[in-house]
């Protein structure tokens, strides 16, 4: 890792299971920026988090020389802009950038809510509906991958880019969900062959491999989280 002399003081408030936290971690790795990873305790929010993100009280929060930056995709853009000497994360063409931002927003606003929906569903019907939506989403993302990668390994081309980080950070949860849902195929060799290859390459990338947790660990964590969500729903 390059020394951090000119990078200032970089801290990341987060937690290892969160896919949103994985995004800035991957971005910082791409830029070879060292940082202190301040992990939150499951079930509670630190004073530092509440002070740094008073509006949403959520992780991740990047603290750069004690100045907070919130919202994972916004943090990734910040990292790309500040450490502009490193490999670039957003594409250089304005239209490509718009496409990248579009798909990152799609993952968060349309695709991810169904992951939560499928994992914490209270009825078989609700679960199946969420899974159907996820599969539709996978088909759209497969199409996007084929169109945007233009035959290269990643959405970003020869190297990982903004969409790769936004969607790739979801892979541990995606794989865990497949197991938890009794073998449902979201990454499907027949229906999403491009994404299957992409997922393997992304997971093996040096900037990613120590950040993406093992599927088993996510499954264990998911059980705790689902219990918490269901308890909260029961008491509201």
């Amino acid at each position: 890792m390059a020394n951090n002399n000119n990078n200032g003081d970089v801290k990341l408030i987060g937690a290892w299971p969160s896919p949103f936290v994985m995004r800035p971690r991957i971005a910082l790795n791409i830029k070879s920026v060292e940082y202190e990873f301040l992990q939150e305790q499951f079930g509670s929010k630190s004073d530092l988090l509440l002070k740094s993100n008073p509006v949403h009280k959520k992780i991740p929060v990047l603290l750069h020389n004690d100045k907070p930056i919130c919202e994972s995709n916004i943090i990734v853009e910040y990292i790309d802009e500040v450490w502009s000497a490193g490999p670039s994360i957003l594409p250089s063409d304005a239209h490509d950038r718009a496409v990248a931002r579009f798909w990152a927003a799609y993952v968060d606003e349309k695709w991810f809510p169904n992951v939560r929906g499928a994992a914490a569903a209270s009825s078989e019907e609700a679960k199946n509906a969420a899974v159907d939506q996820l599969k539709e989403g996978m088909a759209l993302l497969e199409g996007a991958y084929v169109e945007i990668s233009k035959g290269k390994d990643f959405f970003g081309g020869e190297k990982i880019g903004f969409i790769d980080i936004a969607f790739g950070s979801m892979l541990a949860w995606l794989r865990a969900l497949q197991v938890m849902l009794g073998g449902v195929k979201l990454l499907d060799e027949e229906k999403t062959p491009g994404l299957c290859k992409w997922a393997a390459k992304f997971s093996a990338d040096p900037a990613v491999k120590d950040v993406l947790p093992e599927t088993e660990k996510i499954i264990e964590f998911a059980k705790l989280l689902v219990a918490k969500i269901k308890a909260a729903a029961a008491s509201s």
């Binding site: 509006v55 750069h64 100045k67 930056i69 919130c70 919202e71 916004i74 943090i75 853009e77 910040y78 802009e81 500040v82 304005a94 239209h95 950038r97 718009a98 931002r101 579009f102 927003a105 799609y106 349309k110 759209l140």
Partner: protein
């Protein structure tokens, strides 16, 4: 403006998201073709082709290539039509940019809170009212004493928020609240923005917005 460019905006007049794109284009002095799509009653082939994922407006079509999602569109416009003493929406400092993006993203929630007021009934309406007023007060505190969120000039956050001003009358009528009473400085800011032609031309008459919502409620079977 030597290059031949084809710029088309697909939009529907009540959409605050569409107003963002219109303000951005006007601020940059971009000539474009406005194509109205009645997304309530009749989504056209062109819309479905240009935005197959969401099937929503606004869509900016630049030399045949679509750009979707209003904030993505505003950033695209900011980046593409730069220089020549044109206004700049996003600050150049990365930290300031991150703050602007954060607030613009937050502002999208305001429309959802407001929506509860006019489409829901009972407790949901009360919840929406509280969420709306709280979020507008938060934005008001962010404004502070600056003339615009962007500082001396209209910026990214101003463009993201000001379209909702045309919906205030609707929220007030259905929610029985006064936004001016709750957030006087924010309303002052909105009126200041409205003095600009780019904003004035983009925002519809609030009474027309209210009538549009009355029609929507009938369509969705909400008792008025």
């Amino acid at each position: 403006m030597g290059k031949s460019e084809e710029v088309v905006l697909l939009n529907y007049w009540p959409s605050p998201y569409g107003m963002r794109a219109m303000i951005a284009l006007a601020e940059k002095g971009v000539q474009y073709e406005y194509v109205s799509v009645d997304v309530v009653n009749n989504k056209t082939q062109l819309l479905l082709q240009m935005n197959p994922v969401h099937k929503k407006v606004p869509v900016l079509i630049h030399n045949g290539s679509p750009v979707c999602e209003s904030l993505v569109i505003v950033q695209y416009i900011d980046e593409l039509w730069a220089g020549d003493a044109k206004p700049v929406f996003l600050p150049s400092d990365p930290y300031q940019r991150a703050q602007a993006r954060f607030w613009a993203h937050y502002i999208d929630e305001i429309f959802e809170f407001g929506r509860k007021i006019w489409i829901k009934t009972g407790e949901e309406v009360e919840k929406g009212k509280k969420e709306l007023v709280d979020s507008l007060k938060l934005m008001e505190s962010q404004l502070g004493d600056k003339p615009y969120f962007g500082g001396e000039e209209l910026g990214y956050v101003d463009i993201a928020l000001v379209p909702y001003y045309s919906w205030f009358y609707t929220y007030e009528q259905f929610g029985n609240i006064s936004i001016e009473a709750e957030c006087p400085k924010l309303v002052d800011w909105a009126k200041r923005c409205m003095k600009k032609e780019s904003v004035n031309k983009a925002l519809p008459d609030p009474v027309k917005v209210h009538d549009f919502v009355v029609m929507l409620r009938k369509k969705f079977g909400v008792d008025s």
